[in-house]
């Protein structure tokens, strides 16, 4: 099993980051993300928590050995569930791969919480694990590949989101400075 965890500060308020979440794609840094669909959403009238389930479609070339061994294709799908709780100012996003999931899973968790100085803390963890009934060498290779791919995409995702947020809120900031 691979475990990856990281944190980062976004230079925007929690509300702005969470509003921006829905505007992250498409982005030239993340050209592998092709489609996004909401498949379920509920707003809890008691707690105010919004739960959203989305399916994200990606197109990213897989190495030949993966295609040969596991029959994967360029199209990969991810299920993402997010909870946004305005009363505690917590947003959590959990994602897991639907494609190749009979061989291995990559479970990613992201959390956005306000930091003490009005900015937003981003925390991210990922667990990459192959299913038990696999030939060990192939399992290790697949895990390593998924971990590397995860790190590349996470890096691109952060660059993209930083970009989106500064574009979205730049005008407001200027107005704020002027008023």
């Amino acid at each position: 099993m691979h475990f990856i965890s990281t944190s980062f500060i976004y230079d925007h308020s929690w509300a702005h980051v969470v509003i921006g979440m829905w505007h992250k794609y498409p982005h030239p840094h993340c050209s592998h993300v092709k489609t996004i669909d909401t498949v379920d959403r509920s707003v809890d009238s008691k707690t105010g928590i919004i739960r959203t389930e989305r399916i994200i479609g990606c197109k990213q070339k897989a190495p030949m050995w993966i295609v040969k061994l596991f029959g994967g294709s360029e199209d990969a799908f991810v299920r993402e569930i997010s909870f946004i709780d305005p009363s505690t100012q917590t947003a959590s996003v959990t994602s897991v791969n639907l494609s190749l999931s009979q061989f291995a899973t990559c479970l990613e968790r992201i959390q956005y919480t306000p930091s003490s100085d009005g900015r937003t803390t981003f925390a991210q963890s990922a667990e990459i694990q192959t299913r038990m009934n696999m030939w060990r060498t192939a399992a290790d290779k697949l895990e390593n590949f998924m971990a590397e791919r995860f790190k590349q995409n996470a890096h691109l995702g952060r660059a993209a989101f930083t970009d989106v947020l500064s574009t979205m809120w730049a005008v407001n900031k200027q107005q704020g400075a002027l008023s």
Partner: protein
């Protein structure tokens, strides 16, 4: 905005996303009159309930059409089975417990 799984659902998806985004921005950063703010502070539950109803009223109809379209697309792409399996393995009906936050800017990795 990103595309939908199926091109025929994309216009419905865009309409639904725009509706949600407009509602959501107001949900997180409400511009309230003094009177409304007082009501909200006095009775946050009523306020939340009203906002949930407002979402349903504004976006409920376009959601029904979009959902119908995307359900069909999921079936056509052969994703129904893997999605059902993922939901069974990890229902995620409730928010997960908080993450341990590594020190700022830090990252760690290990494999076993």
């Amino acid at each position: 905005m990103a595309h939908s799984l199926s091109p025929e659902c994309t216009p419905l998806k865009h309409a639904y996303d725009s509706c949600f985004n407009a509602w959501f921005a107001g949900y997180l950063e409400p511009t309230l009159t003094v009177h409304e703010q007082r009501e909200k502070d006095k009775n946050p539950r009523d306020y939340q309930k009203r906002k949930a109803e407002e979402f349903q009223q504004n976006c409920g109809k376009v959601w029904e059409s979009y959902r119908e379209c995307v359900q069909k697309a999921i079936k056509n792409k052969g994703l129904t089975e893997v999605l059902d399996q993922a939901r069974e393995e990890n229902p995620l009906r409730e928010p997960p417990p908080p993450l341990d936050i590594p020190s700022h800017g830090g990252s760690s990795q290990n494999s076993k």
